[in-house]
């Protein structure tokens, strides 16, 4: 990329630094104030009774909405900064020459930190495959990137704690690695559309060189974009969650979504396929459902199916993959998610 475009007038460094310090201080203050503020508003200002359905629901809502929005902004900012150190070009270079196994593990991990939007799936797929990265390794990347969704991680952390968030990341990685390895072993190159192999891809394109001011600007743009897209779902989702929290009786769902219902895991995965939701919308509802008896494994399976098996992305990938490969792709990921769901139900 032509570096002369990069010498642009930007905010002076010290100004950016001051803004950043200010923002961090404001964030920390806000985060500490929301719990007492929510309690005061529900129980003093609005005069609701502690322990009552309405009181609990309102306090929950008034605390969780700002909490999740703050967590989202903060974590997306940090993750975006991390992502400015990675690019598809760097990832391609790092994966070059790595064989199956190591390659799959590295590809899955890079899938988390490389900036990726599902509309880039096709150029990225072609770019990786053309430069000699094995099909299975490429798939490990393509599975990890959308499945391990940063909004989902933040919300799981905010609502369930770091153990569940960690489990989600770990299972996403394992699914991506194993599914990629399986696809690699099946030697499915002939199910990639022929034109892909004939393409001349201009390799050697380097990513941009960024300075810290630009990184912070990009991270801030990401926060605005993502929170802008997602905040309403967060509010509605938590409102529904608060309602269920306060009003639906305990164990109402244990029968159909609990551990005993063996078919709940595959059913949850199947339900996830046609749904293309963002993680923010699904999780708060899922959290309230869980409180009422749905088991964690079923719920995580549903979530990973929604974000990882997205119909729009499959349609996009059809441009470069023949139907047999798409079917195998969906099949392998579904199996992996189902197994993970059962495992969690057994273990937790």
């Amino acid at each position: 990329m032509d570096q002369s475009f990069a010498q642009l007038s930007q905010k002076p460094r010290w100004q950016m630094g001051v803004l950043l310090v200010f923002a961090v201080a404001a964030w920390i203050t806000a985060y500490n104030v929301i719990q007492p503020l929510a309690d005061w508003t529900s129980y003093s200002a609005l005069g609701l009774a502690r322990g009552s359905h309405l009181g609990e629901a309102v306090a929950f809502f008034l605390y969780d909405v700002p909490k999740i929005l703050l967590l989202l902004s903060g974590m997306i900012f940090l993750i975006s900064i991390l992502r400015t150190f990675f690019s598809p070009e760097r990832t391609r270079a790092m994966l070059g020459g790595k064989r199956q196994g190591i390659g799959n593990i590295l590809a899955a991990m890079l899938g988390i930190v490389t900036p990726f939007c599902s509309c880039s799936a096709v150029p990225l797929f072609i770019g990786f495959v053309e430069s000699g990265i094995p099909l299975g390794v490429t798939f490990s990347f393509l599975i990890a990137a959308p499945t391990i969704n940063e909004v989902a991680v933040v919300m799981l952390f905010g609502l369930f704690g770091w153990k569940v968030a960690g489990l989600y990341i770990a299972s996403g990685l394992i699914i991506a690695i194993v599914a990629g390895m399986v696809i690699g072993q099946l030697k499915l190159e002939r199910y990639v559309e022929d034109f892909v192999w004939k393409m001349q891809v201009a390799v050697g394109m380097k990513g941009e060189k960024l300075n810290w001011v630009d990184r912070i600007q990009r991270a801030w743009e990401s926060v605005r974009e993502i929170v802008g897209k997602v905040w309403l779902y967060v509010v509605v989702g938590i409102a529904v969650g608060a309602g269920i929290h306060g009003y639906v009786p305990e164990s109402a769902l244990a029968g159909i979504m609990g551990k005993q219902a063996w078919w709940s895991v595959p059913a949850a995965v199947l339900m996830g396929v046609p749904l293309y939701s963002n993680a923010a919308g699904v999780i708060p509802i899922v959290s309230a459902l869980m409180e009422k008896g749905a088991s964690l494994g079923t719920v995580l399976a549903f979530m990973m199916s929604v974000v990882g098996l997205s119909l729009p992305e499959m349609i996009i990938l059809r441009r470069v993959l023949k139907p047999q490969l798409i079917a195998i792709f969906i099949g392998v990921i579904s199996m992996a998610i189902i197994v993970t769901g059962y495992l969690f139900n057994l273990v937790l």
Binding site: L8, P88, C117, S120, L124, M205, R218, E221, I316
Partner: protein, 83 residues
């Protein structure tokens, strides 16, 4: 000057094309703006993600950025052209 936005038809690629068209119109620049969705043409620039801003056949900006950043990039390009 010729500006191309390489996109795959997703919402953010389309909205960047709209941003660029708007910025060019607002400033009254003599710039031709094209939206390229053809896969082969996109790959010819050696990029692996969209959207991409291409100015006079050179990659100028990768990814979806805000309007102020886009405008800065375009201004610099015009300045360089004149000089």
């Amino acid at each position: 000057m010729n500006v191309k936005i390489l996109g795959s038809g997703c919402a953010s690629c389309k909205s960047m094309y709209n941003d660029v068209t708007r910025i060019v119109a607002r400033n009254g620049w003599e710039v031709e703006v094209e939206y390229i969705q053809d896969l082969e043409k996109i790959l010819a620039y050696g990029v692996m993600a969209t959207p991409v801003l291409v100015v006079d056949e050179k990659v100028a900006m990768l990814g979806r950025r805000g309007s102020s950043k886009i405008e800065r990039v375009l201004r610099e390009a015009i300045k360089m052209q004149i000089s």
